[in-house]
Symmetry: C2
Subunit: 194 residues, 2 copies
Amino acid sequence: MSHDLYKKRMEALLSYYHKNKRLPTYEELTRVFGVKSKSAAFQYIEKFIEDDIVRKSDEGFLIATPRLYGARVLGEVRAGLPHDAEEEGLLDCISLNDLLIHEPTHTFLLKVSGDSMRDAGIMSGDMVIVNRKKQAKIGAVVVAEIDHEWTLKYLMQKGKKMFLRAANKKYPDLFPKHELRVGGVVTGVVRQYI
Amino acid sequence: MSHDLYKKRMEALLSYYHKNKRLPTYEELTRVFGVKSKSAAFQYIEKFIEDDIVRKSDEGFLIATPRLYGARVLGEVRAGLPHDAEEEGLLDCISLNDLLIHEPTHTFLLKVSGDSMRDAGIMSGDMVIVNRKKQAKIGAVVVAEIDHEWTLKYLMQKGKKMFLRAANKKYPDLFPKHELRVGGVVTGVVRQYI
DNA sequence: AGTATAAACGAACGTTCGTTCGGTGTCAAA
DNA sequence: TTTGACACCGAACGAACGTTCGTTTATACT
């Protein structure tokens, strides 16, 4: 088994998966791999199964593992980037969806405008991941409605009273005149550079 | 068709999809939906297809759409959260993977340590999404090797010479003594609150 | 009670799936 | 030249798939 061919076919499989959001059938795999028989594809997939790039579910279906659909994670910036395909074997692979969204039904993304949370690393234009069913802890970043206005702030407590605090000294603390309602807890932040 | 039932079954389908990373067969759908016949499941799926929650691929396979596996996106914080399931119809649904990782083969996640980029909203503990094949533009955040040390900085230019700049005034600009090599361009940032 | 409408049932269908197996070609060591 | 290993081919198999269709049940309205 040539290593180059192995990598090429794995990338072909990944590319198919990203395009179609599913693994090909063995019949389709003949085209993906560039072989003429299903059995050749079948045998090749067995190697991928050994290497945990794909997996057989309990019901016998072929499913992708994070090794295929996830992004490779490196330890730290200081360690640099691995040279090419050398030591990729020992890298973790994760899916951002799986990592950041645990309760898809209760989770929203919210676009942030304004710089009131910039010292918390939440910039204007970022998206925050909001879980609306999670219990808000004091000190957490929350999406809250204070006196009928929605905003993104730290949830704070003074005595028994809750209030909101920006992560930017130029904004004052917000004490509710009438009502403070937490709409959701920020569980993550994502930013995209174009 | 009851709306409650519809939502319940959609959540059951979503839950199955998140657990198994694939859509169930019609036979399995009978269990997911709580019906006794495949045909009942089949008819129900047709409604989901109409609503673009799932889709039939050109080859006739059932595939999930971002409406199922993605997270709902709201416009802005100021607009508040939608009340429950009211106007969810008009919300976009996106997958964080699809949004942030366009070239999975060339993309890595890198854990950040240090506060040299905090004014750019990149905090210690964040993960940056790095594309190693993308052309680095001046002013972009890059992962670079400067005199054999890896770091995360802005890529800057003075005359013909490239150098690195932190997003934190207390760090000086870094001019390479010997070598400056860009290892990848930061295309995104993700942070997770626990 | 009677009727209309929608939802679910259950059996049946042709198709295509994953898998197996025996055979062919190729290269290298013996 | 033989032998073995390896990758692939091609035909074949039963099993499971998606889909159809006529019937039955449940719900709502008259």
